[in-house]
């Protein structure tokens, strides 16, 4: 983790490995940092896209917002919280984001967006309330990607 943190603090740095015997240094990765949080970031972004599509389908079909869409949204929120905790853990372990205020802003938005959207639509189960969930899910996915980029 310490080595990976130092790599992240130098944007142009690449991860390298030494081949046994030959002593050659081989580039095994570019700027995109690969660690345990990366797959979680992809999962959050992918699941957010899925929730967005499900909600948009609900709007297109002009159906009242189903209960399961709320459950999908809350599941997305749980994943977002896991990603936020992981990002904050990386920060507390020594990873230095380029802009701390930007990083913390994205983490806050990641966690707060979906609950706010669900709260404002709590009593409204009309077709267009699914559109609100779609917008919030899309924004959550985008913010998740941004968190992965700026952390």
């Amino acid at each position: 983790m310490a080595a990976s943190s130092s790599a992240k603090t130098q944007p142009a740095a690449r991860r390298r490995a030494t081949s046994p015997g030959s002593g050659e240094v081989e580039v095994i990765g570019e700027d995109w940092h690969v660690d345990a949080l990366t797959p979680i970031g992809f999962i959050v972004a992918g699941y957010a896209a899925f929730v967005t599509i499900a909600a948009v389908v609900g709007v297109v079909l002009k159906a009242p917002r189903p209960k399961w869409l709320d459950q999908l949204a809350w599941m997305l929120e749980i994943l977002a919280v896991v990603l936020a905790i992981g990002a904050l853990a990386g920060w507390s372990a020594g990873r230095k984001p380029e802009s701390l205020s930007t990083f913390l802003g994205y983490v806050g938005a990641l966690v707060c967006l979906m609950p706010l959207a669900l709260q404002t639509m709590r009593t409204d189960r009309s077709t267009w309330s699914s559109g609100v969930i779609a917008a919030a899910a899309l924004a959550t996915g985008v913010v998740a990607v941004r968190v992965m980029m700026v952390r």
Binding site: T102, G105, L116, S126, W128, A135, A136
Partner: protein, 141 residues
């Protein structure tokens, strides 16, 4: 806001517009605050325009909220102002790039936000154009 709301806001596409505006209030507002308070000297014009964009989104949110409750005059003005702002700043960022050493919210017609800033006022105006009018006592869907 409640003083201008004769009844509960009815459901409709404006809910999605309000959500997107709220997200942009958050995004543009936070971005402009960080830019202004941490590195304003680097790109004063661009960062000032980010503040203008954030203020426009706040006004746009209230304007759409009012329009949903039957008072569309402010929304018509604000959405045209917003569209003009995106267009002017977008053109300036392409014609005079030296004014924009760092991007603002509306630089290159909002390319940093997937061109949503350019689409948003257009969608708002389309909604205003074909929105149903509220009855005097009707408020719910």
């Amino acid at each position: 806001m409640t003083a201008t709301s004769p009844a509960k806001t009815r459901s409709g596409p404006h809910l999605v517009l309000l959500t997107v505006y709220a997200i942009f209030v958050l995004a543009a507002g936070a971005r402009s605050l960080v830019q202004v308070f941490t590195r304003f000297d680097e790109a004063p014009i661009a960062y000032s325009l980010s503040v203008v964009a954030a203020a426009t989104y706040v006004a746009g949110w209230f304007a759409i909220r009012r329009a949903a409750n039957g008072s569309a005059g402010f929304a018509k003005i604000m959405l045209w102002v917003e569209l003009a702002g995106v267009f002017v700043v977008g053109v300036l960022s392409l014609v005079v790039p030296s004014w924009f050493p760092d991007a603002s919210v509306w630089s290159k017609f909002g390319s940093g936000y997937g061109f949503v800033p350019a689409l948003l006022p257009i969608l708002g105006l389309l909604w205003l154009w074909q929105r149903p009018t509220l009855g005097p006592t009707e408020g719910d869907r």
